[in-house]
């Protein structure tokens, strides 16, 4: 994986308060990365450092190989940032505001009108370009905020709590929008709404009290939390199959499908898939299907946070 965003033992303190402590990870181009954590976990601080608003107290960060110490302004030009409160000048018209931000980020004057039109269409504010920003609803303000973040076509887009203060309909629209930003650019979206992260992200960074507890896909996090979940379709009744499971495999759901076939959903806490398969086959039950199940993110997250992870910085190949 070619990392576009890389941090190495990144730390940040506000006086005696440690907001980030030794955070190392690497993310590739085109990924949508969820930054997950409780309030005060360090999510916003991490994004503010990646955006170049704050400088780290220790460690390093690079965007596309450029570090703040090398050329902070070059690094900032590769990043688009939407803070939790969109940074909008309320007295300006949307078109003028986007034109100002585009020019500020180095978009050529002759390209600006076209660029504004394209981005406005992308975030569905093309019918509102001549409205004054202060008159827009929060949902549209967030969209204008995203428009300003992607107007200069950055490699990395940072969205801090993009769905906060939105109504349910706006949340659905925002979710689709965030999802659509991935692919061409790396997107970081912070949230403590697990569903948002579950619905929109390719991988997840779990922060807790300034430390990186885990980084990986939802399945990888499930393994880290000691909770890999699989589903097995087996030629036996559910009761028969459940009685032959190895230690460390616990059936959390089962159903008889009829015809001597049943499905079992298993939590693997220490047992491997191969052991489950061997135990069932050894008992003379044919296995029709065995596949991993996407773990429930809420439980995975709580397991990681309550158990303090036990695997700080684990998951993906992290760090430099």
């Amino acid at each position: 994986m070619t990392a576009i965003v890389r941090t190495d033992r990144l730390s940040k303190s506000y006086g005696a308060v440690t907001a980030l402590a030794g955070v190392s990870f690497a993310c590739g181009a085109g990924e949508v990365v969820g930054v997950l954590g409780l309030n005060g976990a360090g999510k916003s601080t991490l994004l503010r450092i990646l955006a170049g608003e704050l400088l780290p107290s220790g460690g390093s960060v690079s965007i596309g190989g450029v570090e703040p110490g090398d050329d902070t302004r070059a690094m900032r030009s590769r990043v688009g940032y939407l803070p939790e409160e969109p940074p909008l000048y309320r007295e300006m018209r949307v078109r003028d505001y986007l034109g100002f931000v585009g020019a500020l980020n180095g978009v050529a004057r002759r390209e600006l009108p076209d660029r504004v039109a394209v981005v406005a269409e992308r975030v569905h504010i093309d019918g509102h370009l001549d409205r004054v920003v202060g008159e827009l609803s929060m949902g549209y303000r967030k969209r204008v905020g995203i428009a300003q973040a992607i107007l200069h076509e950055p490699d990395v887009v940072l969205l801090d709590e993009p769905v906060s203060s939105l109504d349910p309909a706006e949340i659905v629209g925002m979710r689709e929008l965030v999802r659509s930003l991935g692919g061409r650019r790396t997107v970081f979206t912070s949230s403590h709404h697990l569903r948002e992260v579950h619905e929109t992200c390719d991988s997840i960074l779990v922060l807790h009290e300034g430390e990186l507890l885990a980084h990986g896909t939802q399945e990888e996090l499930g393994v880290l939390a000691g909770r890999e979940r699989i589903e097995v379709e087996v030629r036996a009744t559910a009761a028969e199959a459940a009685g032959r499971l190895p230690a460390g495999a616990q059936a959390v759901h089962s159903a008889d499908l009829g015809g001597g076939v049943s499905t079992l959903t298993l939590d693997l806490r220490g047992a491997e898939r191969e052991e489950v398969a061997a135990a069932l086959v050894g008992a003379g039950f044919g296995i029709r299907r065995l596949e991993p199940v996407r773990s429930d993110l809420e439980r995975v997250f709580l397991d990681l946070v309550r158990g303090d992870g036990g695997a700080a910085g684990a998951g993906r190949e992290n760090g430099p």
Partner: protein, 240 residues
């Protein structure tokens, strides 16, 4: 430079976009008009004295305008959480400070220009000395440059607009009270305080038509110093 001008242009437009800027402009015009009416209309003063009195009052009004305009500059953006837009853009901290400074100074000079009708009246009804008028306006511009830089520094430092206004008002007032400190100080401090005084030492000769080289050095130097401090404040906030 285009980034500086871009930020300055937005600042200037923002000042005129809301009620606040127009209120300052109205207040400046009202005070200039009231003082002109009270001190000079109906009197038998010579034109040069009338013009000198106008520049005297305009100096004070401009100082106040500079404080009121700049107290919003960084502090309001911080309160409204829009400053992050500038701080995360490719613009350097110097460009941000300079852009905001030029925008605020541009507005302050607009308030100065709005009262140009008074010298025009002197020209129409009296005997205007163009040299005195030019020197007076140069002095006003230099004083505005200094007071605006002080205000920008206070706005960059203060946690909110009110604190920025109070700090700016205090520092700007201090600039014209150095001559008092000079009077009660022993050498060499008295000379230092005298040299720092904005009105007696630097502006007063301009209102009477005399252009002093030392003021042409003093004003840009003090302005630069406060802008440099403003940049340092922004940089320090990134580390806090």
């Amino acid at each position: 430079m285009s980034t500086v001008l871009l930020i300055a242009r937005r600042e200037l437009r923002a000042a005129f976009a809301g009620l606040y800027g127009w209120a300052i402009l109205a207040l400046v015009l009202m005070l200039d008009g009231l003082f002109f009416n009270a001190w000079t209309l109906g009197s038998q003063r010579p034109s040069s004295e009338v013009l000198s009195l106008f520049f005297y009052t305009n100096f004070g009004v401009t100082m106040a305008a500079a404080v009121f305009v700049t107290m919003r500059s960084f502090a309001a953006e911080r309160e409204q959480r829009t400053l992050v837009l500038l701080l995360t853009s490719p613009a350097g901290d110097w460009q941000v400070v300079l852009g905001k400074y030029l925008g605020a100074l541009g507005f302050v000079l607009c308030t100065v220009a709005a009262a140009v009708y008074i010298p025009v009246m002197v020209w129409l009804k009296g005997n205007l000395e163009w040299g005195q008028a030019a020197a007076g306006y140069l002095g006003i511009a230099l004083a505005a440059a200094v007071c605006t830089a002080i205000g920008i520094f206070c706005s960059a430092t203060a946690p909110n607009q009110l604190a920025a206004g109070v700090a700016g008002g205090f520092l700007v007032t201090l600039q014209v009270l150095f001559w008092l400190l000079s009077g009660i100080s022993e050498p060499p401090l008295d000379g230092v305080f005298a040299a720092m005084d904005l009105y007696r030492e630097h502006f007063e000769p301009f209102q009477d038509g005399a252009v002093h080289l030392k003021t042409l050095v003093y004003a840009p130097t003090v302005s630069f110093l406060f802008l440099l401090l403003s940049v340092r404040v922004l940089q320090a906030r990134r580390w806090r």
